[in-house]
């Protein structure tokens, strides 16, 4: 296992108390796989990735848990040690290609910076050659000329390609992609997903794909973790998850996507209500207020994540290892 997150809890201090954005989260990323983390806003999926990269804002901190990269705990590393890992072994691409590039530096300088930081012995000429090669690999036409561009001269799709080129320039083992296609148009989204897939094959890396779009998950992932209110509610192989979603939340998410094949004019299925306020979580299962199959016990006790068939599910419906009808 390349990356193993064990009992991770991340908290943020806010004005009215402490918000637990990620609660006792455990999962792993295997070598060469694409793991998708799915959830809506506020489910803690981005905080998970920021915790791994050590990029939490000042009011946030990892309260407990371990993040093991090849067996070493990243949380115990010093800042210098982390700096050597970030961008070299683990790199990240962000949602907003518009804001995550520096507007006052040329594209080539930004990519070269990360190459030169991690390969101090390389000379500039060589780094530039590598930069142009990377831009070509991610499908930017006439890369020699585009390398001289500033970010504002490029379109959103192009900038996301530059971000990917930068992230892959040191050939990381793990790429964390935080909503890489959310800000892009559908036809460009298709291009970028295709590119991520190709790059995974080419560089033999693992990808942690964070998204709210189950369509993107079905297209790209090998394994899926579904998060709700900072916890895993279900995790399974991608085929198993889409064939037989078990947790009512996963089921609801899948049903509420407008489908192209659907010909009926019936109202769309909807999950009622909304995500609870993190400062006032319900006592029992966090999803209980919105669940169609809520039982008495759901409001009193919190369910545990337990294996059911080839899934891991956190729901009282599967208390006995199979679905209670």
């Amino acid at each position: 296992m390349l990356l193993e997150v064990k009992n991770l809890t991340t908290e943020f201090k806010v004005k009215n108390g402490t918000v637990r954005a990620v609660n006792n989260l455990s999962f792993g990323v295997n070598e060469g796989e694409i793991l998708a983390i799915v959830g809506e806003s506020g489910s803690g999926k981005s905080v998970t990735s920021l915790s791994i990269m050590g990029l939490l804002s000042d009011n946030g901190k990892v309260a407990s848990g371990e993040i093991l990269y090849r067996g070493e705990d990243l949380l115990k590393k010093s800042e210098d040690e982390m700096r050597a890992i970030k961008g070299d072994k683990i790199s990240m691409i962000f949602q907003e290609p518009m804001t995550s590039l520096n507007p006052v530096y040329r594209v080539k300088d930004q990519i070269m910076e990360s190459i030169l930081t991690h390969n101090p012995k390389m000379d500039k000429k060589e780094a530039l050659k590598h930069t142009v090669d990377m831009l070509r690999t991610v499908g930017i036409p006439s890369p020699e000329e585009r390398a001289e561009d500033y970010p504002h001269q490029m379109s959103g799709g192009m900038r996301q390609r530059v971000m990917i080129a930068m992230a892959l320039s040191c050939q990381p083992d793990l790429l964390i992609a935080d909503e890489p296609t959310t800000a892009l148009d559908v036809t460009i989204q298709a291009q970028i997903l295709e590119l991520l897939y190709e790059m995974r094959e080419k560089f033999k890396m693992s990808v942690m794909l964070i998204t709210h779009d189950l369509g993107v998950v079905a297209e790209a992932a090998d394994r899926v973790v579904v998060m709700y209110c900072g916890e895993i509610v279900e995790s399974a192989d991608v085929k198993a998850l889409f064939e037989k979603p078990m947790h009512p939340y996963t089921l609801g998410l899948l049903k509420s996507i407008p489908r192209l094949e659907d010909e009926s004019t019936d109202p769309l299925y909807m999950i009622r209500g909304m995500v609870p306020n993190p400062l006032h979580m319900p006592q029992g299962c966090p999803f209980s207020d919105r669940c169609d199959r809520c039982m008495d016990i759901c409001r009193k006790k919190k369910p545990e994540l337990r294996p059911v068939g080839d899934h891991l599910v956190r729901c009282f419906l599967y208390e006995n290892g199979e679905e209670t009808k």
Binding site: G215, F242, G252, S256, I257, P258, L268, M274, V275
Partner: protein, 337 residues
């Protein structure tokens, strides 16, 4: 849905001036909307789809009078709005309302929800002052919010709830046509379904007509009766939704449909992945606007005039592939004249 046409958009154009010369004459134009014509019938929901920069929002803004058209007509209920004076045009603002994309930016943070919804009622003198409060509560209930929320401020609400407030504000003046400009794209999946269902219900309840603008074909599918696909300021295809989704004719529509990720991991389809980016609307390609990215490009596309032709009943396509289908709309107009 009746046969009566509520909104008739004819040869609508909007050019933005990018550069001027010394004498103030434009030297470079951004053609955001370039000769677009379509009709919306009473009680219909018309979907307008396209990628960023295709001009779909510009059309919406011209219809609600946030932009003045460069050329062309917007005929609403038999009246040509673009020919009216500013003062007369204003009277129609009440009939055509807009729901905005971003529920975080479209509500005044310093006004309570109640004041936000009451404002259009008071401006238009729709109710006597003492009945306004009751009307606001009624409207809040219509969109699924409790009437007691009227003294709260926008920051106390989630994105989905704010979008409901935006909808209530649009409904407050009892409009005939609502332009929905990407009303769900800023919302979470589970909330999207709630808002789409709400819009669907309100359409029935208040006899509304929608112009529904979106960037993905899957969202529009559920709510619209007919769909128009735009690319770089031009309409590429208009068809009833069943027809469009089962038998897309324009290669761009085919690519857009194919780009939607399927929700079945066993069916990872071979997608049509378009090359390159949308060209800049400042110097759009000559001829068919899509020809620089088209996978069915052939000789003559560079000089093809993108005119919608009726290929089968109610199915209009602008593409060189279907040139033989019959005379284009422009030629039709000439004959009538």
């Amino acid at each position: 849905m009746s046969e009566e046409v509520l909104l008739d958009v004819q040869h609508l154009k909007k050019y933005f001036v990018v550069e001027k010369n010394f004498f103030g004459q434009p030297t470079s134009l951004l053609k955001a909307v370039d000769d677009v014509s379509f009709q919306i019938k009473k009680g219909e929901a018309f979907g307008l789809v396209g990628e960023s920069g295709c001009g779909k929002s510009t059309i919406g803004k011209m219809i609600v009078d946030l932009y003045t058209p460069t050329d062309g007509k917007i005929i609403f209920n038999g009246t040509d709005l673009s020919a009216l004076s500013k003062k007369d045009r204003r009277k129609y603002c009440k009939d055509i309302q807009l729901i905005f994309q971003d529920p975080y930016a479209s509500l005044n943070p310093r006004m309570t929800i109640g004041d936000i919804i009451a404002e259009p009622i008071l401006t238009n003198h729709l109710r006597p002052k003492n009945e306004v409060e009751k009307r606001v509560e009624e409207l809040l209930n219509c969109v699924g919010l409790s009437g007691s929320y009227r003294n709260r401020y926008p920051y106390e609400f989630s994105g989905g709830q704010r979008q409901r407030v935006g909808i209530a504000r649009a409904l407050a003046v009892e409009p005939k046509l609502i332009v929905c400009d990407e009303p769900v794209s800023a919302l979470d999946v589970s909330i999207q379904a709630q808002v789409l269902n709400l819009l669907d219900d309100l359409k029935e309840e208040f006899n509304l007509t929608y112009l529904f603008i979106a960037h993905g074909l899957n969202v529009v599918k559920h709510i619209s009766d007919r769909v128009g696909v735009m690319y770089l300021g031009k309409l590429m295809e208009i068809a009833p939704k069943g027809e469009l989704y089962h038998n897309p004719l324009n290669p761009y529509t085919q690519a857009l449909l194919s780009a939607i990720p399927s929700v079945d991991p066993n069916n990872r389809k071979k997608r049509i992945v378009l090359e390159g980016d949308v060209p800049s609307p400042i110097d759009p390609p000559a001829g068919c606007r899509f020809c620089s990215r088209c996978f069915k490009r052939m000789d003559g596309c560079e000089s093809f005039d993108s005119i919608l032709r009726e290929v089968s009943p109610n199915h209009h396509v602008a593409c060189k592939l279907y040139e033989q289908a019959g005379p284009g709309e422009a030629e039709h107009d000439k004959k009538e004249a």
